[in-house]
């Protein structure tokens, strides 16, 4: 029986080749999009879930409001983990990751290689996190100083094999440190909010340990099963009273925590579940730039809608063609076929179509995978689709699509009354269907929303790139790791400055882009700090060329100058700090540093105010920041002429390798680093663009099919009208009018939805582009034009046909 259904279904698909081709094209593109996005979404959702204890691991985050500046940190203080473990039995264990030292130079043979994926971690790292060992005992591997755990890739890279226990690795820390390899682990999975190739012992970190006020450690707690996050977070006020407050009180002459809080200051802590970090955490000092749950929602919606649009095509074309199939149904019914049988027949057809489409979709997915990978920044392989859970999904998908697309047409077609059908009275009615119109509206409304979304995302990205960010990011070549040149530094900088096309240079690792160093310090307006006069502020060590080289502007006062010997204790603040301080004329006023700037606690005279510039993502407001003269020589920036950037870069590299062949040459362009801060948005923008185009394409395939069907249905009418004097324009207008009306209705439906959605998305940015009406008008017009082109192709074909031939068929 099934075989019989299949045979008939196959014949029908072949008989209506044109529509079958349209359906299969639409469905397979739709399914391919769906598969790709499903890969992406499941990957995003899988982050950090591979640890045995994933469900019970939490990161400790700090929220600090102090002196008008507020910090949402992804890090905690050095002793916090241990204090919590000691005091609360719910804490089964904790571990910390320290990445503030940035990248390391690691020696291989005679040369140093710059490694970014490095961290210092506690010996408990492997008690909390699950990383299978290849050799060595990871539990004991990092208990001693000067020990390192390598991944398999790192071991192969430096030693050629993984049999490296006991071998030594030399790094540039503290002027050269040797580490003994104590374990090798498998490469860390990439679907995690951190991954490293080298895990060094925490005992080698040079740090002012024991400070409860300074937050620099990513701290993870493993809570005992059954402990809820909410319940544990209730302990934090006690912790603050017991440990944080006493130190703060001593530091700024406090009598009570109330006094601290009354001045609008606040310290609080919270736990972020490990598995939420990747999609829901966007704090300062995240180990890597995280993604955003919004994109998961948006892309899931796009995937589902793309698939639905393709299914709608099938439904629409099937019911529209019902007039052609009606006679078949009528004859079958007269011959005694039951409705049930007919429904099965039609469902077999849609099911067969779905299976064929799935097969093609898998091929398409395979072809598109490299492109999608570069788009999404992932590295999926086709074999990811044959995981057991995915396999089940792949089997269910055609069943679902078959039912989705086939159910309505099946019931609709099988419901025909044989008598009306055989009299041929159905044609007029079948041509106009409210449901079909609704579905077309759905398709185009979705398309318009996607177009709007894409335009808005692109505009916001452009806005970010072109906004007056307060410094000139163009044509700035940053050479990293210049500190390692030591004695040769001065010579290197002089040589480069002598190159034609190099306009200026500045030595500072503090840069207004990521990655750049950050230094958050406590200052007060008076020599004795109290909660009312203290505040947190970024304090960057720069030289006197920094402000001109990066194109920043002074609002008041002056830049540092060699002419003033006193400038070593001078400080330049930004406008935000000036506003925070509230002085009418801040120049000449004094700020007191608590921890010491350049290890020099004490007074700093404000010598100038620099105009606000963005030094973090535009998602955040500009906070207080200051400059002092100091040595931060691990990066040096050169302003170069636009014309010879490539050439200069080559020459700089030559100078570098001439002086320090053993050191890696590493550079960045400031504008590129700037746009890297928006990588997630850029990816989202590109993905949105590609999938909107595909969704619209699929919707157009459907419209194309419908239009050609309508034209076919109305051949006779068109002939008659032409005989009566209708021009080609008249006919095209007549055929397009109905569809275009539907597109207009779609716009009316789509605009408010799109406005709401994009408004919500933009709210995420502290500095955002406007949402002008033209975007919506443009999207609607674009949809209208696309629809018009699609329809007019068929309409013009029909209008140009000789009426004699269409009337002959009577």
């Amino acid at each position: 029986m099934l075989l019989n259904y299949l045979k008939l279904a196959w014949r029908n698909l072949l008989k209506y080749r044109f529509f079958t081709a349209l359906n299969i094209t639409g469905l397979s593109i739709g399914v391919a999009c769906f598969l790709l996005i499903t890969l992406f979404v499941t990957d995003e959702l899988s982050f950090d879930r591979f640890h045995d204890h994933a469900g019970n691991i939490y990161r400790v985050d700090a929220d600090i409001v102090f002196g008008g500046s507020s910090l949402a940190l992804a890090v905690a203080s050095d002793p916090m983990g241990e204090a919590l473990r000691k005091d609360y039995p719910e804490v089964q264990g904790y571990t910390r990751i320290y990445t503030s030292n940035g990248s390391k130079l690691i020696k291989k043979g005679n040369v140093f290689i710059n490694e970014d994926d490095v961290a210092h971690v506690d010996s408990t790292f492997f008690d909390i996190f699950t990383y299978p060992a290849i050799s060595g005992d990871t539990r004991k591997a990092l208990t001693e100083p000067n020990t390192v755990v390598l991944t398999e890739s790192a071991a192969r890279k430096y030693f050629g094999n993984t049999d490296v226990l006991g071998k030594m690795l030399e790094t540039n820390d503290a002027g050269g440190t040797l580490y003994k390899v104590t374990a090798v682990i498998q490469d860390m999975p990439r679907n995690a909010h951190f991954y490293f190739d080298f895990l060094f012992s925490m005992k080698n970190v040079q740090y002012d340990f024991g400070n409860y006020l300074s937050h620099n450690f990513s701290t993870y707690l493993l809570l005992r099963p059954g402990t809820t996050r909410k319940a544990f977070e209730k302990h934090f006020p006690d912790y603050i009273n017991k440990y944080v407050f006493p130190q703060a009180a001593q530091f700024m002459q406090l009598k009570s925590i109330d006094e601290f809080e009354k001045s609008g200051n606040r310290i609080s802590y919270q736990l972020t579940p490990l598995t939420d970090i990747h999609l829901r955490s966007d704090r300062m000092a995240e180990i890597r730039v995280n993604s955003n749950i919004q994109y998961v929602y948006i892309f899931s919606a796009v995937a589902i809608f793309t698939l639905l649009i393709a299914c709608v095509n099938f439904m629409n074309l099937s019911t529209a063609r019902s007039a052609n199939r009606a006679k078949e149904v009528g004859i079958r019914k007269v011959l005694g076929s039951e409705r049930k049988t007919l429904i099965r027949q039609f469902l077999t057809e849609s099911g067969l179509l779905a299976v064929i489409s799935l097969v093609i979709a898998i091929v398409l997915t395979w072809v598109a995978l490299p492109f999608f990978n570069s788009l999404a920044g992932k590295s999926f392989r086709l074999t990811d689709l044959v995981r057991p859970d995915f396999l089940l999904f792949l089997v269910l998908l055609p069943v679902f699509i078959g039912l989705m697309a086939g159910l309505y047409p099946a019931f609709y077609l099988s419901s025909f009354n044989p008598i009306t059908v055989l009299k041929g009275k159905l044609n007029a009615g079948a041509r106009r269907s409210g449901l079909r119109s609704t579905l077309v509206v759905f398709q185009f409304a979705t398309s318009i929303i996607l177009i709007v979304g894409t335009i808005v995302v692109y505009r916001q990205l452009n806005f970010i790139q072109n906004k007056k960010i307060g410094f000139n990011k163009d044509q700035v070549l940053v050479i990293n790791g210049t500190g390692a040149l030591d004695a040769q530094y001065r010579a290197f900088r002089n040589e480069v400055e002598k190159l034609p096309g190099v306009l200026g240079s500045t030595m500072s690792g503090y840069l207004p882009v990521m990655p750049g160093a950050r230094s958050d310090q406590t200052f007060s307006k008076e020599s004795v700090m109290d909660p009312r006069n203290g505040f947190n502020m970024q304090c960057w060590r720069i030289d006197e060329n920094y402000i001109p080289t990066l194109g920043m502007e002074m609002k008041a006062g002056r830049n540092f100058s060699r002419a003033f010997g006193t400038d070593s204790s001078g400080i330049i603040i930004n406008e935000s700090t000036a506003a925070l301080l509230g002085y009418a004329d801040p120049v000449g006023k004094i700020l007191y540093s608590a921890d010491g700037v350049n290890s020099e606690p004490g007074p700093h005279t404000i010598i100038g105010v620099v105009k606000d510039f963005h030094f973090a993502s535009l998602k955040q407001k500009i906070g207080p920041l200051s400059f002092v003269l100091g040595n931060a020589n691990w990066a040096t920036s050169f302003k170069v002429k636009a014309a010879n950037v490539k050439d200069i870069l080559n020459k700089v590299q030559k100078i570098w390798t001439g002086m320090a062949p053993q050191l890696p040459f590493s550079y960045q362009f400031l504008d590129e680093s700037f746009s890297n801060m928006y990588r997630a948005e850029q990816r989202a923008g590109k993905i949105a663009l590609v999938f909107s185009v595909l969704a619209i394409l699929i919707a157009c395939l459907g419209l194309f099919g419908l239009a050609s069907f309508m034209a076919e249905q109305r051949t006779k009418e068109i002939g008659v009208r032409k005989v009566l004097g209708a021009s080609v324009q008249d006919i095209v207008g007549m055929l397009s009018k109905d569809f275009l009306l539907l597109v207009v209705i779609s716009s009316v439906v789509a605009v408010p939805l799109a406005w709401y959605g994009m408004h919500r998305w933009l709210e995420d940015f502290a500095y955002r582009s406007a949402l002008p009406a033209w975007i919506f008008v443009a999207a609607a017009i674009a949809a209208l034009l696309i629809a018009l082109i699609t329809i007019s192709f068929q309409a013009i074909k029909a209008a140009l046909a000789n009426p004699v031939s269409s009337l002959r068929s009577e």
Binding site: V720, L724, S727, N802, E810
Partner: protein, 225 residues
Amino acid sequence: MIKITNLEKYYRTEEVETVALNKLSFEVKEGEFVAVMGPSGCGKSTLLNILGLLDDPDAGSFLFNGIEVAKFNERKRADLRKHNIGFVFQSFNLIDELTVFENVELPLIYTGVKASERKKIVEEVLDKMVIMHRRNHYPQQLSGGQQQRVAVARAVVNNPKLILADEPTGNLDSSNGNEVMQLLTDLNEQGTTIIMVTHSEHDARYSHRVIRMLDGQTVMENIMI
């Protein structure tokens, strides 16, 4: 009004070439009522399509009111057609989605007559065809005879000088057929030239003259009284 000389029309399908019109020549004067007869497939409809400027001949000359139109392009033909020629078909060819009124109104829309004026003209014509009471009905709701009356109304609404009718009674019973023939005769008496294809000797008697065709050629012309 119409003068055709050595008109030829071929149809090529894959390998076979059919000669539909073979050096056909005749003349029709203004005010005449001519019937064209002949066996099936002899080229009558083909001839009518060419006379109606729906199709172009492959060779020969076709003078319409003294103008050579055989080589006219599609737009020029359409223009000439919509102002001068009305059609009546065997299968009525009314548009199912439009009412009687709207069907008759169509040619006026395409010749750009104003809406207010259209209403007047259409109502006049519907009155004349005694179908006014059905003006808001759809074609499916009418009998065959009524449908053909609507078709005739539509053919004359533009006041054409020439009406071409291809077996106008072919789908009608004899009483409805006679009614339509009477309508055509009346129109002819008011000065409209009519060329009608028919298989019925009875209908042919309404005309002044019969042109008999065989294999794309005229074989005989006989004058009827």
